[in-house]
């Protein structure tokens, strides 16, 4: 994936093309590109258009951070959220919030796929391109204003405006305790203020490179997302569609193969089952033993005795030659009606006996019991 970084510094427009391959990001030499190539257009806006602030916040989820931040910003009388667009990233002990005026942003949205702040672009340039891992003072001069930025490898540590009338740059340098100084652009204007031997110059393309790095490997500061760009969305969608059709085709082929394989296996197993079943016809073997009437009557008398009830009628039918052998029992008892009710409730508790399955005959007299179960 390629990104074309663009920045406006002074009266110069700096353009660089970066390519991302895996985890590596490298400068492309072949710029300008061929006509059909359309890289992601990343912009770092002007220093005068953006502000950066640090808000200390406890470590929590991104959504909670956003909620807390918005509530803080809403209570700040100096900030009007309806006019500002904000973007933030998590840094040690809080959030680094970048602000831009909505009106300024709107002007760029049409022409760029990705828009970030110059502070973030510069930070990414120093950290990821220049691999600077020690604090430094970075000075940017724009339209006669000298902006001093306190760089640390984790976040911007502070910002200041250098006013020649009140303090020298070395005082700011001393105040922040920084040794290295970088100047964005030409060193010409700093001849008097700085010992130029100790100052390093950053190329004008630094912001463009930083913006491209942020676009290719986002770390959170983005005023305008690449997915909002119709062209980019269409590109992604077309890749996605192509991938979908290619995968669908592959899936259909695999499905057909799997289905054929499964069907073949199932068919083989079913044939084996059929072959097994055809070997012998065992379906008519009924080895169910008939119930003995003497044992049933003994159980019945035993269950009636504690309730003082008498057996009046007993009827048994057992059919073993049917396809589903069954036994049908009906009996009637006589005695005290309360005892009969107790007996009806307790009969189900006779364990190990077929009588426990007896049911009072619903439409019969009190004391009639019936059972029909398979043998």
């Amino acid at each position: 994936m390629k990104a074309l970084g663009i920045s406006f510094f002074g009266y110069n427009t700096a353009k660089v093309l970066l390519k991302k391959k895996g985890d590596e990001i490298a400068l492309c030499q072949e710029y300008p590109l061929e006509a059909e190539e359309k890289p992601l257009k990343a912009l770092a806006v002007d220093f005068l258009d953006t502000k950066v602030r640090f808000y200390p916040l406890p470590k929590t989820s991104r959504q909670n951070q956003k909620k807390l931040l918005l509530s803080r910003l809403a209570s700040d009388p100096m900030i009007d959220l309806s006019l500002l667009n904000i973007s933030f990233k998590e840094v040690p002990l809080g959030l680094e919030v970048h602000f831009i005026e909505k009106k300024r942003l709107e002007a760029f949205k049409k022409d760029f796929d990705f828009i970030t702040s110059p502070q973030q672009a510069l930070f990414r340039f120093l950290k990821d391109f220049k691999a600077l891992f020690e604090p430094a003072l970075v000075i940017v001069e724009q339209k006669g204003v000298h902006v001093c930025l306190h760089y640390t490898p984790t976040r911007w540590g502070g910002f200041g405006i250098w006013d020649e009338s009140c303090q020298s740059l070395s005082e700011i340098q001393k105040f922040w305790g920084l040794e290295r100084i970088f100047v964005l652009g030409s060193l010409e204007n700093f001849k008097d203020a700085l010992n130029l031997e100790k100052v390093e110059s950053l190329p004008l393309e630094a912001l463009s490179i930083g913006a491209s790095i942020e676009a290719l490997d986002p770390k959170g500061i983005c005023f305008h997302s690449p997915l909002e760009s119709e062209e980019f969305r269409q590109k992604l969608l077309s890749i996605s569609k192509n991938l979908f059709f290619a995968l669908s085709l592959a899936v259909v082929s695999v499905c057909v193969l799997v289905r054929l394989d499964t069907e073949q296996k199932i068919k083989e197993i079913k044939q084996e089952i059929l072959a097994y079943e055809q070997t012998e016809d065992f379906s008519n073997i009924h080895t169910k033993s008939p119930k003995k009437v003497s044992l049933l009557l003994k159980d019945l008398h035993g269950s009636l005795e504690p309730f003082g009830l008498e057996l009046v009628e007993f009827d048994l039918k057992q059919e073993l030659t049917e396809k589903k052998p069954f036994i049908e029992i009906y009996f009637r008892v006589e005695g005290d009606s309360q005892q009969m009710e107790k007996y009806a409730q307790s009969i189900r508790k006779i364990s190990g006996s077929i009588l426990s399955k007896m049911q009072p005959l619903p439409e019969g007299k009190k004391g009639d019991f019936v059972l029909k179960i398979p043998l």
């Binding site: 569609k241 499964t262 065992f282 119930k291 007993f314 009827d315 048994l316």
Partner: protein
């Protein structure tokens, strides 16, 4: 989601389809094992049964009429009446009560392999006291059974059995009606 979800859709469908196919194959394999087990069980049962029938042939039908030829009922009542003149007189008036004879109807045969069922029913209900009833059941379900063969060839059982308590001037009795069936193995 639109960009990444779309290509994922066929993959999800493929995974579901493969899972479904594997499941249906697994179920068929399970059915196969169950069939094997069921048939193996049936085969063992059948072999065991056939071996038993070869070693214990039971060709002759059990003669129920002969078995119950000498069986008499209500002997207790008869004894009681002999020492009691008023009862004896009453018994004389109801003479038929002691002259009951257990007779069986025609033989009904049914084959439901591997068994042959031969069944006979009472021609009429018989009046029995508690002692008679227990003796009758013991004869059919224990004594005659042991006389024949155990383990299923030639066993006797009641496909139908009905008793009803009745009262007469001599006391309370059971009116018994039944069918007795013999089950023999056939090869």
């Amino acid at each position: 989601m639109k960009f990444f979800g779309l290509p994922l859709l066929p993959l999800i469908l493929l995974c579901s389809f493969i899972l479904f196919s594997r499941f249906s194959l697994h179920e068929t394999k399970k059915l196969f094992s169950q069939t094997q087990l069921r048939l193996a069980k049936a085969f063992i049962e059948k072999t065991r049964y056939e071996t038993f029938l070869k070693n214990h042939p039971q060709k002759k039908t059990f003669d129920l009429d002969l078995a119950f030829e000498k069986t008499t009922f209500l002997e207790e009542l008869e004894k009681r009446c002999q020492d009691n003149p008023p009862l004896e007189k009453l018994l004389f008036q109801n003479g038929k009560i002691l002259k009951q004879k257990l007779l069986f109807g025609p033989l009904k045969t049914k084959i439901s392999r591997p068994y042959l069922y031969q069944e006979k029913g009472f021609t009429h209900p018989i009046l029995m006291d508690q002692k008679d009833l227990l003796a009758f059941l013991k004869k059919v379900e224990e004594e005659f059974f042991v006389e024949r063969e155990s383990n299923g060839s030639g066993e006797l059982f009641f496909p139908y059995f009905h008793i009803k308590k009745t009262k007469n001037p001599f006391g309370t009795f059971f009116l018994v009606d039944a069918k007795i069936c013999e089950r023999r193995g056939v090869l």
